[in-house]
Amino acid sequence: MMDLLEKLYQMTAIQQLFESPETLLMILIAFFLLYLGIKKQYEPLLLVPISFGMLLANFPGGQMGVVKVDETLTLYQIASQYGIMNFVYYSLIKTGFLPPIIFLGVGALTDFGPMLRNLRLAFFGAAAQIGIFTVLISAVAFGFTLKEASALGIIGGADGPTAIYTTIKLAPHLLGPIAIAAYSYMALVPVIIPFVVRLTTTKKELLINMKEQDKLFPSTSPIKDLQTLKIIFPIAVGTVVSILVPSSVPLLGMLLFGNLVKEIGVSTGRLSKAASDTILNAATIFLGLAVGATMTSKAFLNVETIMIIVGGFIAFAISIAGGIFAVKGYNLFSKKKINPLIGATGLSAVPMASRVANDIALKHDSNNHLLQYAMASNISGVIGSAVAAGVLISFLG
């Protein structure tokens, strides 16, 4: 009887809670992230699954935490020996499968219209990737390997799936903290963008009214048939990107395919709905839970994580500033001025960044609606960071 109770006690995770109090810390962190996701509405679609997966992962016996496995094992053996969460992780995440799948869905929810109407602004989606490479270099100085540094830097791309895909390819052991940092800062965009804008812009600049500028300097080639244009555009861009940065195709190719089936309309409506609804949502659940499951105390509680949290913020801030200063530079040489907020949204973090920028503009001039312009650089920022990821993967992967 006594040793039955002993066995009973062994079955529980109580022992482990005493032996390794850091587990308790992990649980508290999970609670905190759940609070941010549920109550503060920080990217709940990902923070909730991630933090719940993290909560379940930190008790052994349940086999809900991701562990290192002999990579010659079959998926069936992984499931039998290490449980369903490792099965999900090694079949859907570490294979790099889910991020492109999520991009497929994102593409079916994206509208390139605003970008096509203001193509010039696409450049600021390039400028706002500067944070990626700046932090990459600094991180190496701080002792990260080049691969780790790239994964850290990519947080500055402000794009969840891109950050996760790059990390899987270059530094999978950092997946947890990098995913958390990426999504947390994306959720904090309403705080970070105003902060950087305040530091880098003047009231006068923020008053630049894009609509009036357009009236003063009208576009040379108005779009006559947007519908057809929107159908051909993803095909053309897909071709260009495939030629220049093939390594970014798993991400951008899926994004553009999702967008294509959406723009074609009813005749491919079934595919568009599947991509943006059933596939995207199911993928989000498994991605979230499995990413959370990588955050066991051993993998999470170390100085690297703190450096990632800090470095990620810096990358974010630099990217925003990069976009803003690119606009300032442009305004020096162009008669047709651009509002620096359009640079800030080059960061991506679609569409929240654009909404935030629009709110700031309206606060300074209640007639200055620049949402459509912000969306242009905002969407190109997604392409920008995916391209940056492709470069890093093909150079270091």
Binding site: M115, L116, L119, R120, A122, F123, G125, A126, Q129, I130, I132, F133, T134, L136, I137, S221, I223, K224, D225, Q227, T228, L229, I232, F233, A236, V237, V240, V241, L244, V245, G265, V266, S267, G269, K273, S380, I383, G384, V387, A388, V391, L392, F395
Partner: protein
Amino acid sequence: MVIGMITVFTVLFLVYLTGNLLIRFVNRISSGNSENNLPDHHISGDKIAVITAAVEGITNGKASITTIQKQ
């Protein structure tokens, strides 16, 4: 790093170029009449506008229509 930013700029420059060429190209091939060629799958824009307006009006913009499907 330099390499990276060069590539990013190059690609987005080409996206810009592609976009502009396509706009000219599409404007030429389909001078507004493309709707007629294409089997009309689409609910005319103004109808959508009306619907959307209706919805946002009624819900004070708390709601938006994500998809409208023919039946």
